[in-house]
């Protein structure tokens, strides 16, 4: 689809000519995200539009609506499932210039921000004032809050603090036809009409353009610390986490990584790994005072020892804690760098099914003779099996796709789901019907039809 010059001129008049890109190389820059959707052939937009205000977004949407032009919203394009890839060309609507912190309401402990604010900046802004925005997807330093809300991003602190949607109180959304709505609000109790806030949260840019977000905050925990536990088996690692939770020690996060993942990180860091290590748990605890913190650390130590932990490291400084977390945050990319291609999945299962799910993944890896690194948020049952492969090898590619298919089937079989926090986007589209059923997918389609009858918003996603 080509966009006529006169339409481009109208758009330039709205956002300013310098905020419209249409050269081939510039458009190429907006053709990819951090998913395994191939870079070539590129899914280039016809034009990149970078609005600064909600009104500009609304005006651009009105033009797109009137001319049937596809619009794919985009934050930092750090997503893992192709959500911001403009599959149908048209407009890549980059919201990264909308970086205003609109209001901090300290009394109600809520903050209103524009969609392009980096989640890391939001976190720091709040933290400087003793307030806490907990959701922390691994990309939080460079991903945008708009993208986090659109994908309903999770993160490592989900086990104790929940995910993005647990903090979204309201949204400003530009609809497909360019009209602007506000959903939710600052009232904690609010049952007026459908809960559109939660409908748009996680809608992956297919129902409207999220331009502002109202988030609730909580007081910043006074003290926190990080522990790193090494185990000789995945079962012992999982058992330790479950025992902690059952004993009332709810860690802010409990991350688990298998041996392959550990080796991936070790390639880039000075890390010595005991060859007997099969699993590593990184867990963050927080409390209101140092005694409470120490108490938790001791209890965790005792539990970990009872399950035969090989090594227990309690961070002695903020720097050491940061160093330990850097291992986890860099993990996804480090694993990805181990092979020409990586199919990273994001299945989520009931917490107690975590070890069983890992066993089933191991069996699938053996069956298809593939290397699959497994890591994830053991505290909440969200796993990221990463199939390391070379898709240019057609025999291997075939085995990979079969393996991924079986991983999804097994995840559903143990009572889980396709995606915990990355969204469906392009990459998990083929599997959605098996997760939701035909009637379930039809319900999504009916909602889409009601809000975007022309299908111009992020076409080609979710189903």
């Amino acid at each position: 689809m080509m966009i006529a010059n006169e339409i481009k001129e109208k758009i330039r008049a709205i956002v300013g000519p310098e905020n419209v890109l249409d050269s081939d190389i510039d458009c190429f820059g907006y053709s990819y995200d951090s998913s395994f959707v191939p870079l070539v052939p590129a899914n280039k937009p016809d034009i990149v539009v970078r609005p600064l205000t909600t009104e500009q977004v609304a005006a651009v949407m009105a033009i797109a609506h009137a001319n049937g032009i596809a619009v794919t919203p985009r934050g930092a394009s750090s997503g893992r499932t192709g959500g911001s890839i403009p599959l149908a060309g048209g407009i890549s609507l980059a919201l990264d210039r909308m970086t205003r912190i609109v209001e901090l309401d300290e009394e109600n402990m809520m903050i209103t921000v524009e969609a392009g604010v980096l989640t890391g900046d939001l976190y720091n802004f709040c933290a400087a004032r003793g307030l806490f925005y907990p959701p922390d997807p691994a990309s939080y330093k460079y991903s945008t809050i708009g993208g986090n809300v659109a994908e309903n991003a999770g993160g490592m602190r989900a086990v104790k603090y929940g995910v993005t949607n647990n903090y979204v109180m309201g949204l400003e959304v530009v609809l497909a036809d360019g009209s602007i709505i506000n959903t939710g609000g600052k009232a904690i109790k609010n049952v007026t009409g459908y809960n559109l806030t939660q409908l748009f949260t996680g809608s992956e840019g297919t129902l409207g353009i999220i331009t502002k977000v109202l988030l609730r905050l909580i007081p910043m925990p006074k003290v926190r610390n990080t522990l790193q536990l090494m185990f000789g088996s995945l079962d012992e690692a999982c058992a330790t986490i479950h025992k902690m939770l059952q004993s009332g020690i709810v860690p802010a996060s409990a991350e688990l990584m298998d041996k392959i993942s550990l080796q991936a990180v070790a390639r880039h860091r000075k890390m010595e790994i005991d060859p007997a290590t099969e699993a590593c748990v990184i867990t963050e605890i927080d409390a209101d005072n140092p005694e409470g913190l120490e108490n938790q650390a001791k209890q965790i130590e005792v539990i970990a020892q009872s399950f035969g932990a090989l090594a227990i490291r309690i961070a002695q400084s903020a720097q050491e804690a940061e160093d330990i977390w850097a291992i986890r945050r860099g993990l996804s990319s480090a694993v990805g760098a181990m092979a020409p291609d990586r199919l990273g999945e994001d299945i989520s299962v009931p917490r107690n099914a975590f070890p069983e799910m890992v066993r089933r993944i191991r069996k699938i890896a053996e069956k298809y003779n593939l290397t699959i690194a497994v890591y994830g948020h053991a505290g909440d049952g969200n796993l990221h099996p990463s199939v390391l492969c070379d898709l240019s090898n057609s025999d291997q590619a075939d085995r990979v796709h079969k393996a991924v298919h079986e991983i999804f089937a097994e995840a559903l079989a143990v009572g889980g789901t396709l995606s915990g926090e990355h969204g469906i986007g392009i990459t998990k589209r083929p599997y959605i019907a098996s997760a939701l059923g035909e009637a379930g997918v039809n319900t999504l389609k009916m909602i889409k039809q009601a809000l975007d009858p022309q299908g111009i918003l992020n076409p080609g996603k979710i189903w």
Binding site: I25, V40, A42, S139, Y142
Partner: protein, 408 residues
């Protein structure tokens, strides 16, 4: 042969950039993305342009050349990248590939390369620039190509008055054995733009040893960076030959020392030169690295507040971070600035090729310097120093810019 080289370069590019997971964490630290926030300006953008080129998804157009030229090679992205994707090496390789493809690099870089390849021409230009400085017409030459040099003498008369603490001579404390043959590497940038600072470097070296003066040729970084790899290799061989007698090669330019240290890597597969190149690279030391090893003590301590701009080729290029700061702490009132290791936007000829972007990057550096209230910003690379001089001028005299040899 040529075709093989082209394929090898693309393979090299692909090997590096296929490690990029496109997470975008580099966008936080890329100085150019900081002043031009569109994807193709970021490290992620350029790596993926290179990847698409290697995969046949993009054609080698002038647009592609312009995109990969728009990189400071500062390695800030490499440091922050979870997979340590070497953007700088990928850009150098892809520039070489594009230059070969287009039947050679652009006229601009060819001219620069030819000039720097030629010892006599470099000296000639250095002389001309010196004359222009003396008669004060360097102001009329654009883009700070001939920065005004603030000399050590001026520095001492300004800061080493009655308030200065006693000057100490460090001659005796240097644990340099008599046998160590130290040779100086006189970089083109130092020669052409900051000859007075280079003279101070020699004075410092003479207080420790008897430095050999070698009529060296260019380190070859400008050639390597702009698709003139053959020239780079020729220059490297010439320098290897020239310094065979020396035990230690000291340079007061971070870009030179970093490049010379990396020469070995380029001859790793050349049985004839491999060993000599390795030996050569292992002998190279950055000035402050050598001085700290030799136990040098600054000649004086002054009451000036000083901050340090860390050249990319020093900190990320050679891992030298502590040494210059240690020396500055002994020489005066040292204060660390925020983002000291962020590129200043100089980057070889980048500041002349992309003045607007370079000025944007430099403006941030200037703000950082001003925030420290330092009177002097010190650095150790002539391109950085010419940028610092520019920043000092723009600050309206809030601070001065000096080479480290002039203050220690």
């Amino acid at each position: 042969m040529k075709e093989n080289e082209q394929e090898d370069l693309l393979k090299e590019v692909h090997r590096i950039v296929s490690q990029c997971d496109r997470c975008g964490s580099c966008r936080l630290v890329c100085p150019l993305f900081g002043v031009k926030d569109i994807e193709s300006a970021s490290a992620r953008g350029k790596n993926n342009i290179a990847r698409a080129l290697a995969m046949g998804g993009l054609q080698p157009t002038p647009e592609v050349t312009a995109a990969v030229d728009f990189c400071l090679l500062c390695r800030a992205c490499v440091e922050t990248c979870p997979s340590k994707v070497k953007t700088d090496e990928a850009m150098i390789a892809v520039r070489q590939h594009l230059a070969n493809h287009q039947g050679g690099t652009s006229v601009k870089y060819k001219l620069l390369g030819t000039m720097l390849k030629n010892r006599s021409l470099v000296k000639l230009v250095a002389g001309a620039m010196g004359v222009m400085r003396k008669v004060g017409i360097q102001r009329f030459v654009p883009r700070g190509m001939i920065p005004a040099e603030y000399t050590r003498q001026q520095f001492l008369s300004a800061f080493a008055g009655p308030a200065a603490l006693g000057a100490t001579s460090a001659m005796s404390s240097a644990p340099v054995t008599v046998q160590t043959k130290v040779a100086y590497f006189y970089g083109c940038g130092m020669r052409m733009m900051f000859p007075d600072a280079a003279a101070d470097t020699l004075a410092i070296l003479r207080s420790l040893t008897q430095p050999q003066l070698v009529d060296n040729v260019c380190c070859g970084l400008p050639h390597l960076a702009h698709g003139l790899r053959e020239d780079f290799l020729k220059l490297a061989k010439e320098n290897i030959r020239l310094y065979e007698e020396a035990d230690v090669i000291v340079s007061d330019c971070a870009s030179c020392s970093s490049t010379l240290k990396h020469i070995a890597g380029y001859f790793a597969a050349d049985p004839q030169w491999q060993e000599r190149a390795l030996k050569f690279s292992q002998k190279v030391m950055d000035l402050t690295e050598y001085l700290v090893k030799a136990g040098y003590q600054p000649r004086q301590r002054v009451n000036a507040k000083m901050t340090f701009h860390e050249p990319c080729h020093l900190g990320r290029g050679q891992g030298i971070k502590k040494q210059p700061r240690e020396l500055l702490k002994a020489a005066g009132d040292f204060v660390e600035m925020a983002g000291a290791d962020t590129c200043c936007g100089g980057a070889g000829s980048f500041h002349m090729d992309y003045p607007a972007a370079s000025d944007g990057v430099l403006a941030k550096k200037q703000a950082s310097i001003e925030k420290t209230n330092a009177q002097i910003v010190v650095t150790e690379c002539p391109i950085c120093l010419s940028q610092m001089v520019k920043a000092a001028e723009k600050s309206g005299g809030k601070f001065r810019a000096m080479h480290i040899s002039q203050v220690i």
